[in-house]
């Protein structure tokens, strides 16, 4: 084990011989991966699975530090201001792009203060409803909602949450504003959906798969272009007739701007390797997701995606007129 990691470091050093001296030895001490949400949540789970595999490859522990608060912006701000030496990195999700619009005063520049390392995974979302909702497919759901716009309630896990974003897309797609019932986090929202207190919700597979399989809630569609392996009978929104509700909770790794290119490359290579591990693949599949393709776990693909997502969500959020500050 020890020999293997020494060998790995040596190999990497040879491979990067042209890079700056620092990269040849990087990392010489543990790397801190900041997760801007609480321990135990879906993003934390993704981070810990990745960090465990990256530790093996880097030959140094990748330690998770949970810096929660203010929709993930506090954790992101911490990394934006950290030393650009590759020992502090950030794992953030789609909120990185949406908070650029949701927050009018951010303590950092989303595009200017970070170096992208690579994308990690696109977690699909599912449109779900309480067990006795009077519709059996997405078409029926839309019809029922349009007929009773003042009776149907839509739950979300708070301003800026993935369920909030997907809810905005859904209302836009069916051109019917719904009464939105906000919760603090997915747990309480899911509880009231299971209990039939609220009618519909759109949330990550990470949170809904267990409840769908257990028959506690009804599922109508999955919001990604492809079906999910863990819920093979669930059609995509495109198949079910609402193609514009297309959203995935994508995750990416960031380093502070100015981190040496060779270090970013090293981190990116390590991420790519982690995404190929069997454990990560199995666990991700159980969560209803999959690692991104290797060509997307790169700094360039990640940077392009971040930019596109900021552009995509800006008009949606501005139209809804909901801000987090």
């Amino acid at each position: 084990m020890r020999f293997k990691s020494i060998a790995l470091v040596a190999l990497t050093a040879v491979g990067l011989a042209a890079g700056p001296a620092m990269a040849q030895t990087y990392p010489t001490r543990p790397v801190t991966m900041v997760v801007p949400f609480a321990a135990g949540g879906p993003t934390d789970t993704v981070a810990r699975l990745i960090a465990q595999e990256m530790s093996g490859d880097l030959g140094q522990q990748v330690i998770i530090e949970n810096v929660g608060g203010a929709g993930g912006t506090l954790g992101a701000a911490r990394v934006a201001k950290a030393d650009a030496d590759g020992y502090t990195v950030l794992l953030h999700h789609i909120g990185m792009a949406t908070s650029a619009t949701l927050y009018r005063k951010l303590p950092y520049d989303t595009l200017g203060d970070f170096a992208t390392v690579g994308l990690v995974t696109d977690v699909p979302m599912t449109i779900v409803a309480k067990k006795d909702f009077p519709a059996d497919d997405l078409k029926g759901l839309v019809e029922h909602v349009k007929k009773n716009p003042d009776k149907v309630t839509l739950a979300n896990a708070g301003v800026g949450a993935a369920s909030h974003l997907c809810g905005m897309l859904l209302q836009e797609a069916i051109e019917t504003p719904l009464t939105t019932v906000p919760y603090k986090g997915t747990g309480p929202a899911m509880n009231d959906l299971v209990g039939g207190q609220v009618d519909i919700m759109c949330d990550q597979t990470t949170n809904t798969t267990g409840q769908i399989k257990g028959g506690a809630i009804k599922a109508f569609a999955v919001t990604t272009p492809d079906r999910v392996a863990s819920l093979p009978d669930l059609p995509t929104t495109k198949e079910a007739g609402l193609p514009s509700v297309s959203v995935a909770v994508w995750h990416g790794v960031y380093a502070p701007k100015g981190t040496p290119e060779a270090v970013v490359k090293r981190l990116s290579a390590s991420l790519q390797k982690a995404l190929q591990s069997d454990l990560v693949k199995t666990r991700f599949a159980e969560l209803g997701t999959a690692p991104v393709a290797q060509d997307r776990a790169t700094p360039a693909a990640h940077a392009a995606h971040l930019k596109a997502e900021i552009e995509r969500w800006r008009p949606v959020i501005q139209k809804a007129g909901v801000y987090a500050d």
Binding site: A38, A39, G40, G41, P42, D44, T45, R48, L49, Q52, I64, E65, N66, V67, G68, G69, A70, G71, T73, L74, A77, R78, L102, K105, P107, D150, T153, V159, G160, T179, T180, V181, P182, Y183, K184, G187, P188, M190, N191, D192, V194, G195, G196, Q197, V198, T206, T209, G210, Q211, K213, G214, A216, T282, R283, E286, L287, V322, Y323, A324, D325
Partner: protein, 499 residues
């Protein structure tokens, strides 16, 4: 009903040497972090999460659960010894527990807390096993309207916590509610009272407020009498409860167990209310309510039992529905997910050894906690003899470390200092802090649920009266209010007549 077969399977799974060892480690670690002020189970479980990767899922959950209920035990120790509640649940224990300690009766207080908790934990675990799947259906009938009514009931109960002036208690309740409004508006995201400080966006942290108001303020107050050598006013009189203590505690323990078990099942973190409800009930039932707040053992035994019963039954929503009722349970969900178990209603049927093994381990864990805690009482009580100049810097240090670990934010540490000074000022002015803290916890829950209920009913306030559970709770609250106010109204009238 094949509950005994299931339990036998559970004990079979939980009684392997490794799992028993993990249960012991969890209970021990939980007790220790519970005792250290400011350091709570949330931070500890977050730190220990990576260790659970290498364990099998059942072992991991047994250890984490042990930390959770171990911390409930340990938390009451600090509340009794140094008047510092590390957890919401221990606030009530400070009221009479710390007074007992000042009277030299820390030993009986600690022992009664441990024994009451053990009894409550055992009964509640049996309830989880027997009724869990059934009860959860009933708990699901609790919607936003019902939670709002429950919180109203809890808030009215907060006035009963006051041992002196009701007016001052009500004032503190409003200050608590106000502090609870700090943070982003849940619906619109608009910042409230945040003064553009990003760390305030999610509101004030409970640990920060409790450690500052109770812990630091208590230290400041004690520094006024530098000649006094310890927390003790009187010499220690025996470590174990007397027969009279036990007799006085039996009924409160039974009632506390009942209250805690019922409130713990509610998936909306109803367990928060359990110790307060128990304290309110005991004070109302007592022949001489004026003893409360001055070292009544019923005021320790009842709430401690309620707290532990609630801690056990709050596993029901997690295990049967896969829905975490509080932040610690959310962490358990994370631990399960990393192990490849997706929490949901299926866990019980697909992984019965996990479900029943967890339940069996709670029994084992509770027994271990008594074994760990009873011999330790002597050690804790001796801690009271440590001079201030050694004890207080250590306590303050742990407070700062503990508060920092919650969010990794120095702003929280500064806030502890500010709240410490505020708390000291309020104490000097004769205000009681427990109603403030309770209102701070209940306020946001009340607001959220009020707004949710009104959104769902489309602005029709009748929803609170049309739903039977909500109506019942509101009537109870009204009745309690009358009982609380009546004596003071009558006294005023009597005074008026005499003039």
């Amino acid at each position: 009903m094949d509950i005994f077969d299931n339990l036998a399977m559970g004990f079979g799974a939980a009684l392997t040497p490794l799992n028993v060892a993990l249960c012991f480690i969890g209970a021990l670690v939980g007790t220790l972090i519970g005792v250290l002020p400011g350091l709570g189970p949330i931070a500890t479980i977050a730190i220990l999460l990576p260790i659970t990767f290498s364990l099998d899922p059942l072992g991991a959950l047994i250890m984490l659960a042990g930390i959770y209920y171990g911390a409930q035990y340990g938390g009451s120790t600090t509340a009794i010894l140094v008047n510092m509640p590390g957890e919401t649940s221990a606030v009530v224990t400070t009221l009479d527990g710390h007074q007992m300690a000042r009277q030299g009766r820390a030993g009986p207080a600690l022992a009664m807390a441990a024994l009451g908790s053990f009894f409550a934990g055992s009964v509640a675990t049996f309830l989880v096993a027997l009724l869990g799947p059934l009860l959860v259906g009933i708990a699901q009938a609790f919607g936003p309207a019902e939670y709002f009514a429950l919180m109203v009931f809890g808030l009215v109960g907060a006035t009963v916590l006051a041992s002196s002036s009701i007016l001052k208690a009500v004032a503190m309740i409003f200050v608590g509610l106000l502090l609870g409004t700090v943070g982003s508006d849940i619906e619109t995201g608009a910042p409230r009272l945040t003064f553009d400080i990003a760390q305030f966006a999610d509101g004030i942290n409970f640990t920060t407020l409790a450690v500052g108001l109770f812990g630091v303020a208590e230290i400041l107050r004690n520094l006024e009498n530098p000649e006094q050598r310890g927390v003790l006013d009187k010499p220690i009189t025996g470590l174990m409860p007397t027969l009279a203590d036990i007799k006085a505690s039996i009924l409160p323990v039974l009632r506390g167990t009942g209250i805690g078990s019922i409130l713990g099942i509610l998936p909306g973190n109803g367990a928060v209310l359990a110790p307060y409800a128990s304290y309110t009930l005991e004070k109302k039932l007592a022949k001489d309510p004026s003893r409360f707040g001055k070292g009544a053992i019923e005021g320790v035994a009842g709430p401690e039992s309620a707290n532990n019963a609630g801690a056990q039954t709050s596993f029901i929503p997690l295990l049967t529905l896969g829905i975490p009722p509080n932040a610690v349970m959310a962490m358990m969900v994370g631990a399960m997910t990393i192990q490849g178990i997706i929490p949901g209603p299926n866990v019980m049927t697909e992984r019965p050894e996990l479900f029943w093994g967890m339940i069996a381990s709670m029994w084992i864990g509770n027994a271990m906690l008594v074994i760990i805690n009873l011999p330790l009482i002597g050690v804790w009580v001796r801690l009271l003899k440590v001079p201030y100049r050694l004890l207080y810097p250590a306590v303050l240090l742990f407070c700062c470390v503990g508060v920092y670990t919650v969010n990794g934010s120095y702003v929280d540490v500064i806030m502890v200092a500010v709240f410490g000074v505020v708390g000291y000022g309020l104490l000097k002015l004769g205000f009681e802090l427990a109603p403030l803290l309770l209102a701070f916890v209940l306020g946001p829950l009340m607001e959220e649920n009020l707004r949710r209920a009104m959104l769902i009913s489309r602005g029709d306030p009748m929803t609170f009266l049309e739903r039977p559970i909500s109506l019942g709770l509101l009537l109870l609250a009204a009745a309690l209010l009358v009982i609380v106010l009546l004596p003071s109204i009558r006294r005023k009238r009597d005074e008026a007549f005499q003039e």
